[in-house]
Symmetry: C2
Subunit: 445 residues, 2 copies
Amino acid sequence: MTKTILDLLDERKYSEIALALKDMNPADAAMMLEELPEERMPIVFRILPKELAAEAFAYMDSDSQEVLVRGFSDREMDEVIGQLFLDDAVDMIEEMPANVVKRILRHVDSDTRTMINQVLNYPKDSAGSIMTMEYVALKRMMTVRQAFDKIRATGVDKETVYTCYVTDSTGRLEGIVTVKDLIFAESRDVLVKDIMETNVKYVHTDTDQEEVAALLSRYDFLAVPVVDAENRLVGIVTVDDALDVILEEATEDIEKMAAISPTDKPYVKMNVLEIWKKRTPWLLVLMISATFTSMIISAYEGALAAAVILTSFIPMLMGTGGNSGSQSSVTIIRGLALGELKFRDIGRVIGKEAVVSCMIGLSLAIVNFAKLMLFDRAGFEVSLVVSFTLIAVVAVANIAGGILPMLAKKIGFDPAVMAGPFITTIVDASALMIYFAIASSIMGI
Amino acid sequence: MTKTILDLLDERKYSEIALALKDMNPADAAMMLEELPEERMPIVFRILPKELAAEAFAYMDSDSQEVLVRGFSDREMDEVIGQLFLDDAVDMIEEMPANVVKRILRHVDSDTRTMINQVLNYPKDSAGSIMTMEYVALKRMMTVRQAFDKIRATGVDKETVYTCYVTDSTGRLEGIVTVKDLIFAESRDVLVKDIMETNVKYVHTDTDQEEVAALLSRYDFLAVPVVDAENRLVGIVTVDDALDVILEEATEDIEKMAAISPTDKPYVKMNVLEIWKKRTPWLLVLMISATFTSMIISAYEGALAAAVILTSFIPMLMGTGGNSGSQSSVTIIRGLALGELKFRDIGRVIGKEAVVSCMIGLSLAIVNFAKLMLFDRAGFEVSLVVSFTLIAVVAVANIAGGILPMLAKKIGFDPAVMAGPFITTIVDASALMIYFAIASSIMGI
């Protein structure tokens, strides 16, 4: 696709390109544009039918949007920026340098400018920052017929018309009416107040976006209303934005657990310097914190020199501890993120992890003891030391992995950051101390 | 909430319970029911208004559904099961034992039974297995007025009426019309064929559910049509199911990367035996595979005995290698899962990882060398050996972490399973071999 377009561009067959692209889906057109070389993108963008171009623009990543905006004429600014939904416009503006933002804001009407500035002022990752203010508002005394007229009169630019919001004279949310309710109303003269749902779930402007997405997913809503401190309706968050949030937050959590500083940029878009910045700080911290393990080993240098065979099991013990710790911590971190676990469950978690870790530790120790005796011929004492250590290490790892994320959450730290990277360090140090303690008591070294 | 209800139950104040619960949201009612002791759940379920009870049932987890179904009278079966959307009914049946399924199927009409059996036959995690067959079908020659009549006549039980599907006489999908298109049509006499969108995105019954969810999210759709091998429309997947899929798949990927066998059950619902089963197999495999590291250390026993100080840096080197490897592998695995990376990008990935790992390795080595010389006073030779090893280990870890997930995907294995748990083992073994090789060449041991 991209290749054919580049060929046609070289041959200056612009009308053929126009013909090939005119029925494209906006999201596909955006992807196609992003794959073009930067200097060609504006040319192809201008060949697209105006409406498709404006819609495709909303789907593009901010780097490509910036390339286009920098080359836009004033008329193109009006055509493209004027067409954007408010939340897409805000998403774009958040990523642009200040001089480009200024130019963009000159090309929107003053109402929109006020709304954009308002949304930009909400904290990052809050409901306010991802909501749109473009929704259909109805009044309780309207008839179904009037409601449809209102939707037709004002709805064409709204991101969703399927859920309409009923507010009182002070802007407070009184209820919601879906288009389905309106279609299935017994007659077109029924009043909105008689079919509206008054038991409405809503969020506040400062509710965390992850909570908003969880709420949309739990109740299978297409949109959820956002209210301010005085319970006045100020916007809505639609399900497509909730989907984006869920994907984004899952990626962030995965990155944090792997000790990477999260960013919104996909790997393919990042240059090596950006990747370096994301990865190095955590590696440095963890490298320095491994000083503990070095110190423990140095302290037992004499014991190790006396029984060098003990050294060869250090990696296996530390590895098993690390794996056990990440098994339990990852389970708990995910449970906290999905809202399945709360801090008050900490007692149950500790109990469960204690029992499970005994079962796991025993299973591993039995297999390991047999392997050491029969296959490695490591001798009875060494086999015993290693196997006992396994049981203790698995227990420490599972319980630390269960408790630390919950404590992190309780004291307001991010469980994925706090718990993920640090558990290995804690487990490594404990594993060594346990190992040497058991070795010296059994082997007397 | 739950506590108050239990108190009221003890006092047999059933009408007060009914009053407290009657306006509850179905999803909230489901959560409340699940928190009740198993023997109390059916009583409270029966106190709920019939419609709310049926709706709440659809939101409950399969264990609780089973408890209720086992106690249902024939009339209750009709009332509750008859109200379920097809996809919810299928979700439930998939988790039930055969004798309960038989009883359920006796209580649905024969059309529904045929549809349920059809959906049950699609492969697990395919579009067919998560779709619903309840959608509004229109014909191209209908007017907007007739379309609204059709929606009113057939739509009340459909999971979504907002996207309607236009099919020809053989059932092939010709286009889609949204209710928004119908509302905004110039007159009620316009024909569906003149306002329908014919460039329709669809999926096949055997398309993987993750791809379906990605498509809904990319195009911001509320539903996507599912067609069979002859391109006949057989069902739709709605956005609320896509949300569930995305949450589920993210959890699965996270679990696999942490070497846990994934299940659909949340942690709080699993007993210790189930948790043991999820975790132990991988720990055993990884424990046994750590034999390599033991063998490498044993082979260099002499060298270690000569310079015991080298032992104390083994945990730090292996830890840094493991962390680097998981940083790159997790980034690549997530990129593959989100469709941002394809196998053809492997050259770019290797190039990027090679450059990044040099930068990271050098940064770590410089800090480490300074620390070893000034703080640990480990001596020039040892500091040099450890720092050089760091650079090499980071390079191996990053490149292995970059390549292995892509190769796994290419040969049809799950990148998260293949790459996640095994990278540490590979990196551990390489780290030791590199360490001893550099040590013997610099220190001549």
